[in-house]
């Protein structure tokens, strides 16, 4: 294990963790503030990838295609909020799970109608394809771009929620929706905006990852479960918790895949280590979640308890 390998895996892990944070952020906000379980949240991630792929074909400009995908995602978020999510606020989680599962299937089928069953590869501009030397380590430029973009968005989100009127309203509605309403906050509109914001964040993550993995129909169902695990580890409703847990998950997953077999080989026979390592690393974040829930049933950073009924 030399330093270069560790450094490049560190970058991979950070990049994965930050993208997972973008997906988990919207999820933890809708779950924490609206108390709505959205299994269809992964669909926004998938749509972000396909929107940007189509816009790239249209405009030929990659950064523009990602930016233009955002309003489309927000609009999709608004529509699904109005039609499926809003009637289910304050209803049983079971009904929300069923409805959003149905919505996931519907969006998946529509995406297959529009884009076909096969994935779409996305070609990056030439400048982003190369390698850069950072602290003596050669790293792919695009992964650094993802890290920078995701960090910037995370900072913006922090400012938005903690240093703006919108953020005060969101936190008021989360703490006590009835009192917030009585104080003249239009909670319907606030909920819709929050939902759209979450959709845009997840879609941005999808658009950013697509040049590496390509846009595919299955990507939404894969990411949503990991995002749920992250927000449960972090504490449902906590943005800070989602950030820490997402980075943890990204790093554990990446390092597990890269180094677990050599680590295990030191204590186990080589053959046993080679069979156990992939299984263990694939399950690692789920094991982490089980451990966290045993030690702290409400997650690492549980937000203060809600007051009043939704």
């Amino acid at each position: 294990m030399d330093a270069t390998l560790i450094a490049s895996q560190l970058v991979n892990g950070l990049q994965l963790g930050l993208l997972l944070f973008l997906v988990a952020a919207g999820l933890t906000l809708t779950l924490g503030v609206l108390d709505y379980v959205n299994l269809a949240h992964g669909a926004f991630y998938m749509l972000g990838a396909f929107f940007s792929a189509s816009l790239l074909e249209l405009t030929g400009d990659w950064p523009l295609s990602v930016l233009l995908a955002l309003p489309l995602l927000g609009l999709t978020g608004l529509i699904t909020e109005r039609l499926v999510a809003r009637p289910l606020y304050g209803k049983s989680h079971l009904a929300q799970v069923l409805a959003s599962f149905g919505l996931l299937l519907v969006i998946g089928a529509l995406a297959m109608l529009i884009w076909g069953a096969e994935g779409r590869a996305i070609a990056l501009p030439h400048a982003l394809r190369g390698q850069a030397r950072l602290f003596g380590v050669v790293l792919p430029v695009y992964r650094l771009v993802i890290i920078a973009a995701a960090l910037a968005v995370a900072a913006l989100l922090y400012v938005l929620l903690h240093h703006s009127r919108f953020g005060v309203r969101v936190r008021a509605a989360a703490a006590n929706p009835r009192v917030a309403q009585a104080l003249g906050i239009d909670t319907h509109r606030l909920h819709a905006m929050l939902f759209a914001l979450g959709a845009m964040l997840a879609g941005l993550a999808g658009a950013l990852i697509a040049p590496i993995t390509e846009a595919s129909l299955a990507m939404g169902a894969q990411v949503i479960i990991i995002a749920f695990v992250i927000i449960v580890i972090g504490g449902i409703g906590s943005l800070r918790g989602a950030f820490v847990a997402a980075l943890l998950a990204g790093l554990i997953d990446t390092f597990g895949r890269a180094f677990l077999d050599t680590l295990l080989a030191r204590v186990l026979p080589l053959e046993a280590a080679e069979t156990a390592a992939p299984a263990l690393s694939a399950m690692s974040i789920y094991i982490l979640m089980a451990l966290v829930l045993i030690a702290r049933p409400r997650g690492l950073f549980p937000p203060p308890a809600r007051g009043g009924a939704a």
Binding site: V37, V97, L98, G102, M112, A279, A282, M283
Partner: protein, 311 residues
């Protein structure tokens, strides 16, 4: 409304029992195949119905038990045919079924003891995570096909019957379904079932009345896991193939759909729910490859209706 539903359930049960005759008379073995699939899915949903329907606990990882049961058949059968792992190798169907039920129950005991420490949303998420753990574990089992799955090249051997005969396989599936449904009916009206449903309504009150809610729920969870694992074992015999996809969370969602559509907690509910699912799938997927579109819309409608009724 209630009589209408009960009538439908009885009619379905009768139709399913008569399916071998119908398939023979119409010379359409396809119908028997569909009926077997229906019986197996209904059995899997019957397991979930105990914890979700009677216990009111939203277990979202139930597909894992289905896969565990299936692999409990496929792995010993694989070794019996191709050698290796002598302690596990067997072609005996009774051993397979016992292993499936025991593995399902054991996994339920361990994960249930952890998951039942949480409640509400956290319970949904932790059961989902345990389900995903099984999914990824099966994917990583390269010796058993990894994500390609494992064919069951030789069906289990049982006394007095041959599972290669579709009629025998259907008979076995239907008989087991009937036994489990009868058992559910007894359970629902027994003190244990009453304690379980009462805990779903008001756990705090039941605790105050001196009931150990945790133990009751854990017992129900183990029972639910064992029954669904049994269904998984039958599914392995039926398809002669197992794969990690059986543990995918979307499968768990489908099982939940069956239980809710059939009526959560209704004894024969899993039967109607599974029938609706199989008919929809056969009908819609023959009609369009985009069958998830109408199916998803139906799911949304069911959920919205359920929420409105609860309000």
């Amino acid at each position: 409304m209630r009589n209408w539903r009960a009538g439908l359930e009885i009619a379905l049960l009768a139709a399913l029992a008569a399916m071998p005759v119908i398939a023979t008379v119409t010379a359409q073995p396809f119908w028997l195949d569909v009926a077997t699939r229906l019986a197996i899915l209904a059995l899997a949903a019957a397991g979930l119905n105990i914890i979700l329907g009677l216990g009111g606990l939203v277990s979202f990882g139930h597909a894992a038990f289905y896969a565990i049961g299936a692999y409990a058949v496929a792995i010993p059968a694989h070794h019996a045919l191709y050698g290796g792992a002598d302690w596990l190798a067997s072609s005996n169907g009774l051993f397979h079924v016992a292993l499936a039920v025991a593995a399902g129950a054991l996994f339920a005991l361990v994960t249930g003891a952890l998951a039942l420490r949480t409640k509400g949303l956290h319970f949904i998420m932790i059961t989902l995570a345990f389900g995903q753990m099984v999914y990824f574990l099966l994917n990583a089992l390269e010796d058993y096909g990894g994500d390609d799955g494992l064919p069951v090249d030789q069906r289990s051997e049982l006394p007095l019957m041959s599972l290669d005969d579709p009629l025998h396989l259907f008979g076995l599936s239907f008989a087991l379904l009937a036994v489990v449904l009868a058992f559910t009916w007894r359970l629902k009206n027994a003190p244990f079932g009453l304690a379980l449903t009462a805990s779903a309504r008001n756990a705090r009150r039941m605790r105050a009345a001196g009931l150990n809610v945790f133990t009751v729920r854990l017992a129900a969870y183990v029972l639910a896991g064992a029954i669904t694992a049994l269904a998984g074992a039958l599914a392995a015999e039926h398809a002669a193939f197992v794969s990690p996809a059986m543990a995918e969370w979307t499968r768990a969602g489908e099982l939940m759909f069956m239980v809710i559509l059939g009526g959560a907690g209704r004894v024969l509910g899993p039967l109607t729910g599974a029938a609706a699912f199989v008919v929809l799938e056969e009908l819609l997927s023959s009609w369009t490859v985009y069958w998830h579109l109408p199916f998803g819309l139906l799911l949304i409608a069911v959920a919205l209706m359920q929420a409105r009724r609860a309000a």
